[in-house]
């Protein structure tokens, strides 16, 4: 059983103390969230939308820049040691922010903890721009918004719902109301 670190503020209060605000990290003796690692590994072997060797630095203080093969597959960013077939790790790209750091470099962080950044260094400004664009569009939630947008635009031009032909017009996931996030 591994311990997971959670900021106090986001946990239900312990010992009835009402929960204190702050960024103090306290080890919580609970099981780490389970996930189907094998399938994620299999996904990392699928053809990628984008793949390149980039410099990468983890979010922990004192992390050093390492060469990694970085691969974008659906809404996951996998990173490999350059000579290994199995990924070192994966980042799910939902609710993330991609921002430019110094020239030729960008970072990925997540809405719930914007200071915790994964840094990436590219070999050119062009490559940096390409990756930032791709990563910003890589989430399921972005793709869903695109669908709703196109659906509405087509409906406005033709008067017809293009999803009806596919029998998915009633799918909860494709409704305009799903954009209230």
């Amino acid at each position: 059983m591994s311990c997971a670190l959670r900021p106090l503020a986001s946990r239900p209060s312990v010992n009835g103390d009402g929960g204190r605000e702050g960024a103090v990290q306290v080890p919580v003796p609970r099981e780490a969230m389970r996930y189907n690692e094998k399938e994620l590994q299999a996904l990392s072997r699928q053809p990628a939308e984008m793949a390149a060797e980039l410099g990468m630095r983890g979010p922990k203080k004192g992390s050093v820049l390492k060469r990694r093969l970085v691969k974008l597959v659906v809404n996951f960013l996998f990173y490999f040691r350059t000579d290994e077939a199995e990924p070192v790790g994966a980042l799910l790209l939902e609710r993330c922010r991609v921002i430019r750091e110094e020239p030729g470099a960008f970072s990925i962080s997540f809405i719930e903890d914007p200071e915790r950044k994964y840094h990436f260094e590219c070999s050119s400004e062009e490559q940096c721009q390409e990756w930032m664009e791709a990563l910003r569009r890589a989430s399921y939630e972005f793709m869903r918004r695109s669908l709703v947008f196109y659906r509405n635009e087509i409906r406005k031009v033709t008067g017809k719902d293009p999803l009806e032909q596919f029998g998915i017009s009633e799918e909860a996931r494709f409704q305009l109301s799903g954009l209230q996030a």
Binding site: K38, R95, I168
Partner: protein, 246 residues
């Protein structure tokens, strides 16, 4: 390794941003499906009743509906969903390809719930969503380029996720109401740049001035002017009507 010594540790487990996953599981956005399901622990294990939440291509499960942290998640990309013969009523399975891949056997509490879950899960992949979006992109381009012609015949969409294409077509540059800033300010990837409301409508996606060898390719200017004029009138009409909302 010395003989008789215990086997060394396996390759370190893959890292994953679990904390972000957990936040994605419990964020305020509407979910794609939610409800109690029975989940079989293992091949010969008992069923446990868990609260399941489907969001995108992730199926999270919690101890109960009030839990703040998921017990686990099933990443659904590449799965197939099928009905199964099981001791439990309303059972279905989420299967993955691969020799030692696990099959998740789940059971709903009613026929309707089971059908709802099977439908929702079989359309949950990112890949499927991307196929639908590409299809709609093409349709929109076709109806705009043709000046309001009938929709082209749709290609049949697979009802189960198709194999991942080797090289996906690049999506056109998307319109953004807020261009990214170069001084380090963030553009949230979840920013609803398509949200209807009291803002100027996004500019139409960049595209060729006219379809190559299409009817407008060699059209006289007057006809081009009329075609684009229609489009501008339509966009302006949408914008005006969206502004009327309180």
């Amino acid at each position: 390794m010395a003989p008789g010594s215990p086997p060394g540790p396996a390759i370190a487990a893959m890292k994953l941003n679990e904390r972000s996953l957990a936040f994605y599981a419990t964020c305020d956005a509407p979910v794609d499906n939610a409800g109690f399901l029975y989940k079989k622990g293992g091949r010969h294990a008992a069923y446990h009743r868990r609260w399941f939440v489907l969001r995108g291509n992730m199926l999270f499960y919690f101890e109960d509906a009030a839990s703040r942290e998921p017990v686990g998640v099933i990443i659904l990309e590449g799965c197939t969903v099928e009905l199964v013969e099981a001791a439990e009523e309303f059972a279905f399975a989420v299967r993955f390809a691969g020799t030692r891949a696990r099959t998740y056997v789940l059971a709903a509490e009613s026929q309707a719930a089971m059908e709802g879950w099977v439908k929702a899960l079989s359309r949950a992949s990112f890949d499927y969503l991307r196929l639908v979006v590409r299809e709609l992109e093409q349709q929109l381009a076709a109806v705009r380029g043709g000046g309001g012609m009938a929709l082209p015949q749709p290609q049949s969409l697979p009802s189960v996720p198709a194999p991942v294409p080797a090289l996906p077509l690049p999506l056109p540059r998307r319109p953004s109401a807020l261009p990214p800033k170069e001084n380090g300010c963030a553009v949230w990837s979840t920013e609803a740049t398509f949200r209807p409301g009291p803002e100027p409508p996004p500019p139409p996606p960049r595209r060729r001035a006219s379809a190559p060898h299409g009817p407008l390719d060699v059209a006289p200017f007057a006809r081009l002017h009329e075609c684009y004029g229609q489009e501008i009138r339509a966009l302006r009409g949408q914008w005006l009507s969206s502004r009327v909302q309180p």
